[in-house]
């Protein structure tokens, strides 16, 4: 029951009660009779009338509509005359209209109408007239909009005609979200069919004008703002996946110390040094895309090392965080080519490795947009043998390499990565001009309505978009970020019920600012205090105490080995899976409440030390604000491909699921509600056989 006032007190035996009794006395035998006729396949005129009477009173009875379809089928089959068929269809449409007059939201009635129209016995034009009537009564009736879409597609109505219809509806009422929505679908279709940028520009420009009128008239109304947000995304960025960063990055020199001992242990106390050292078992390559993609393979990514011409890759490209076969991050291992040289006692060797991403088409985002490559990168691998000249045979077949990378904090200039065709440059210029104008308008509106939440939020969005598309990113960033951060702070004040949403946006912008500015990164960077590996110091990035509630831009920190995120407000850790070199992570004093939230960390194979103390973790996933979904069906599971009959459904044991694939040696969980839960500790220890220290105490 929707919108019906509550009756007070008990039954009064009065007039309304009598009336209800009379209705029951009429309806009960009618419903029974209609069902009986249905079961007996009785399609007489009288039976059909009874059915119609019921549907007029209660259009929700699905079975009664089914009966009418069977009856109509029967009657058409038993009569040759098309005119009679048409008359039957007319009667159906009449009954439906009566039912819709009772309840215009009746799913059964609308579907019956589609079904009857599908018989091809009635004129479609009449349907548009009927729809106009319903839309006048309620312009947000989504059943009517759905039905209109159906009729228009059966009729093959021109896109332009439907666009014009939505324009009219929007001008009738700027708050008609249904019409804005419809417009978004029509425009998307138009772009898809025409695909010409010029058309897109002029069409988009006129769309912007429409939205401006709407939000200057009704600045507190959501509809136009949502549409505007979508338009901005459309205007600002092409939907194709971009290559955001790689490891190794372009034009770096990597020195491999071929002489290091094979070792699994990393130590976290050491003395200072300037180089970065990473202990690895091979030379990996990581590619980070802006959205999950499929199709990264030896065909679409070519890897050559010069002068060595043999197979450059060892094994295949693998998705790092598999999402139904797609992943933002892909990795592969460079072939190990040193053995022969070692025997020759050549003490220094250099290789140029050249990678071409998108050398042939085939990398596709999950939403169906191809990666527009190719993008090249070249780096130098230098093998050296310092210290002792004795080369040990590696009896375990493992070859540990120490890679020394210089000047690692230079952020990747995105322009170098993005293929810059002329049309793209034109688009960027157009978009930049557009953003400037839109920002101006938004500021104008804010002068009139300084406390408008929507104008404030949109200005923040616009400034974010502007810095993303800007050709001189760093300059724009510096100018915009401070203002964006202020705008989100203002939003937290003027719209406190969504405060945590704005705090998440604030965090993202703060991280954008920090991670794209090498001066800021260096300020937050220290080396030698906390860790070393085989005598070489490794550095730590301090992102602690920043009130971060959400993570982002981690792909800019690919080679990070130690990260301190303590004393923030993190609830979710999505994005951390990009930090594939991480060995130590401090997440203490955050708000992580569910074990499943730690899932991104489970992708970090090199992580040895995790501090998750003083969070809200419990053994039970169902406490805390996040509620986890009980069962996942893993589409990508290899099992499924191999033996389709062996589907296994397990209630995810979060603890085991998260920790069993990790190689942690140190873990701190003190100060979590779950820390005192013995069962929690037991399953932790069972899932982590490699653990040596739990809360600074030796694991027996």
């Amino acid at each position: 029951m929707h919108g019906r006032p509550r009756k007070r007190g008990g039954g009064d035996g009065g007039a309304s009660e009598q009336k209800e009794k009379a209705k029951i006395a009429f309806l009960e035998p009618l419903q029974a009779q209609v069902l009986q006729n249905h079961h007996n396949c009785c399609y007489t005129k009288e039976a059909l009338q009874k059915n119609a009477r019921l549907l007029e009173l209660n259009p929700e009875v699905n079975t009664a509509w089914n009966y009418r379809k069977l009856a109509l089928r029967h009657l058409i089959a038993s009569e040759q005359d098309v005119e009679v068929h048409k008359a039957l269809a007319r009667e159906e449409l009449r009954v439906i209209e009566m039912a819709l007059a009772r309840n215009y939201k009746s799913y059964g009635a609308w579907h019956h109408r589609k079904w009857v129209i599908g018989l091809g016995l009635s004129l479609l034009e009449n349907e548009f007239r009927l729809l106009d009537k319903f839309m006048d009564a309620d312009a947000r009736n989504f059943h009517a909009w759905d039905y209109r879409r159906h009729v228009a597609s059966v009729q093959g109505a021109a896109l332009e005609k439907e666009l014009e219809f939505t324009r009219k509806k929007i001008y009738d009422n700027f708050s008609n979200y249904s019409a804005w929505h419809k417009r978004s679908t029509l425009l998307s279709q138009l772009f898809k069919e025409n695909g010409v940028d010029i058309l897109k520009h002029s069409t988009l420009s006129s769309e912007f004008e429409l939205v401006h009128q709407a939000f200057f008239t009704e600045p507190d109304d959501q509809s136009a703002w949502f549409y505007y947000n979508w338009l901005l995304d459309h205007a600002a960025a092409a939907p194709d996946p971009k290559l955001l960063s790689t490891w190794p990055s372009d034009a770096v020199l990597i020195t491999i110390d071929e002489q290091s001992e094979p070792s699994q242990l990393l130590h976290f106390r050491g003395i200072s040094g300037l180089e970065e050292t990473i202990l690895l078992e091979g030379v990996p390559i990581f590619l980070c895309f802006s959205k999950p993609v499929t199709g990264v393979s030896g065909l679409t990514v070519s890897v050559q090392s010069v002068p060595d011409s043999k197979q450059a890759l060892h094994g295949l490209w693998k998705p790092v965080a598999n999402k139904g076969g797609a992943s933002n991050i892909w990795s592969a291992d460079l072939n190990h080519f040193t053995d022969a040289k070692i025997k020759k006692r050549v003490y220094e060797l250099s290789y140029n490795v050249r990678i071409e991403i998108g050398s042939t088409q085939g990398i596709i985002s999950q939403d169906g947009h191809p990666f527009l490559g190719p993008v090249h990168l070249t780096f130098v691998l230098r093998s050296t043998f310092v210290g002792s000249y004795i080369v040990k045979d590696d009896i375990h077949g493992e070859q540990n390499l120490k890679i020394v990378e210089d000047d690692k904090w230079e952020p990747h200039p995105e322009q170098a990565l993005a293929a810059q065709s002329l049309s793209m440059l034109e688009k960027v210029t157009w978009s930049e001009k557009l953003m400037k104008e839109e920002i101006g308008l938004c500021r104008e509106l804010l002068e009139l309505e300084s406390s408008s939440k929507w104008a404030t939020l949109t200005l923040a969005r616009l400034l974010e978009v502007q810095q993303n598309i800007s050709q001189d990113k760093r300059l724009t960033l510096r100018n915009n970020t401070a203002e964006v951060l202020q705008l989100y702070e203002k939003l937290t004040r003027i719209d406190p019920s969504h405060a945590e949403y704005y705090q998440d946006r604030h965090s993202l912008n703060l991280l954008d600012q920090i991670t794209s500015d090498s001066a800021q990164l260096k300020e937050r960077w220290s080396i030698g205090l906390h860790g070393s590996v085989l005598g070489r110091d490794i550095g730590i990035l301090w992102l602690n105490g920043l009130s971060l509630s959400k993570l982002g831009y981690m792909e800019r920190l690919l080679s990070l080995q130690m990260l301190d995120l303590s004393y923030n407000h993190l609830r979710a850790l999505d994005g951390l899976e990009a930090l594939q070199f991480l060995v130590h992570l401090n997440l203490s004093h955050n708000l992580v409440s569910c074990v499943h939230t730690l899932r991104p960390i489970s992708k970090l194979q090199r992580l040895r030390s995790l501090d998750i103390s003083h969070n809200k973790l419990t053994g039970n996933s169902y406490t805390g604000s996040g509620v986890s979904v009980a069962v996942c069906w893993d589409l990508s599971s290899k099992n499924r491909m191999a033996t389709p009959s062996s589907h296994t459904f397990e209630y995810l044991n979060d603890i085991e699921d998260v920790f069993k694939c990790m190689n942690l040696e140190e873990l701190a969980i003190a100060g979590n509600p779950g820390a005192s839960d013995n069962q929690f500790r037991v399953s932790l220890l069972e899932s982590l056989p490699s653990l040596k220290l739990l809360d600074c105490k030796s694991v027996p």
């Binding site: 029951m1 929707h2 079975t63 579907h111 589609k114 949502f226 797609a326 019920s497 069962v631």
Partner: protein, 313 residues
């Protein structure tokens, strides 16, 4: 107690129990969806710890009488089968830990027969297509551990094809986003392990903007709040891990304000007439908000967590 600052559990339990034998106009008008009604009522009772207050044997025997030879269930005895009632029937049997009484292959073959080439599902043999039925199919088969019976990849593709400019989902491709429809699509994708198709930030933002000044949630922009969206919106946000983007306290207050503290039951808005549908969604919403004393509900399967755990253990 005459205040609405607490949940009047006993009143609501009594209200739901009273529906069992009620013969008023309301129950007559909703006779055809009694299977849904039973699911709403019984799940609410279970969340409030009172599932066994009604006669289990009688209910199960009635459910089985609603099953047709094709495997599908009708909304009541004598009514035609439909995927929505089939889901409710399976959910109720899961509540009672009695899935074993079902011939799961028969139900699976009924549902498989409703899947179309594009991955969508008919609601019944008459060809209505809607993402609500995709959820019905996927949730029902998952509970029966028979997801292998359908083409799940295609089913996912179809749901994704209903995604809109605002990150939400409609009933068919091009249909407007609506919180109820969003729940169906997001929960189906969650069960199918395919949440990565959802733009969590965009959709989460749209969903959190469903909260209006009174604290209640609406289902589409510029619409009135309604207790049922405490479930549709909140469960979606829970699946997306973004419940904290709304003001939980004021939503709690809104739901509690919709109680009939005199006769039990919860309505769509304060002072409207109560019904079992809104009573269930109110209680389920409070469960997601971790209201003390209520069992936790699983946001995707729409069943108490202990029930889902039991099904998959």
């Amino acid at each position: 107690m005459d205040d609405s600052s607490t949940l009047h559990v006993q009143k609501h339990v009594e209200f739901i129990k009273s529906l069992d034998n009620k013969k008023d106009l309301e129950s007559l008008l909703t006779e055809h969806i009694r299977m849904n009604g039973a699911y709403w009522g019984l799940t609410a009772l279970d969340l409030m710890g009172s599932l066994n207050d009604l006669d289990q044997d009688k209910i199960i025997s009635w459910i089985l009488q609603c099953q047709h030879d094709c495997g599908g269930f009708g909304g009541n005895i004598g009514h035609d089968p439909h995927i929505l009632y089939t889901l409710s029937a399976v959910q109720i049997l899961a509540l009672y830990d009695k899935l074993a009484v079902l011939d799961s292959s028969k139900i699976a073959s009924y549902i498989t027969g409703l899947q179309q080439n594009d991955g969508s599902f008919y609601g019944d043999e008459w060809g209505e297509i809607d993402t609500r039925f995709s959820y019905g199919a996927i949730c029902c088969l998952a509970l029966l551990r028979r997801l292998d019976a359908i083409n799940l990849e295609k089913a996912i593709t179809y749901i994704v094809s209903c995604k809109n400019f605002d990150g939400g989902f409609g009933s068919t491709p091009g249909g407007e986003s609506h919180a109820g429809q969003i729940f169906c699509c997001v929960a189906a994708l969650a069960i199918a392990g395919s949440l990565h198709y959802v733009d969590k930030d965009l959709l989460g933002w749209w969903l959190c903007e469903r909260q209006v000044k009174s604290g209640g949630l609406n289902g589409r922009p510029e619409k009135l709040p309604d207790v049922c969206y405490s479930w549709w919106v909140l469960s979606s946000l829970a699946i997306l891990d973004r419940v904290h983007w709304i003001d939980r306290e004021s939503l709690k207050t809104f739901i509690l304000d919709c109680q009939d503290i005199e006769n039990g039951g919860i309505s769509d808005r304060p002072d409207d007439a109560v019904d079992v549908f809104h009573t269930y969604f109110g209680v389920a919403g409070l469960s997601l908000l971790e209201y003390p004393g209520l069992k936790h509900i699983d946001p995707a399967y729409a069943l108490p967590v202990n029930v889902v755990k039991r099904v998959f253990s």
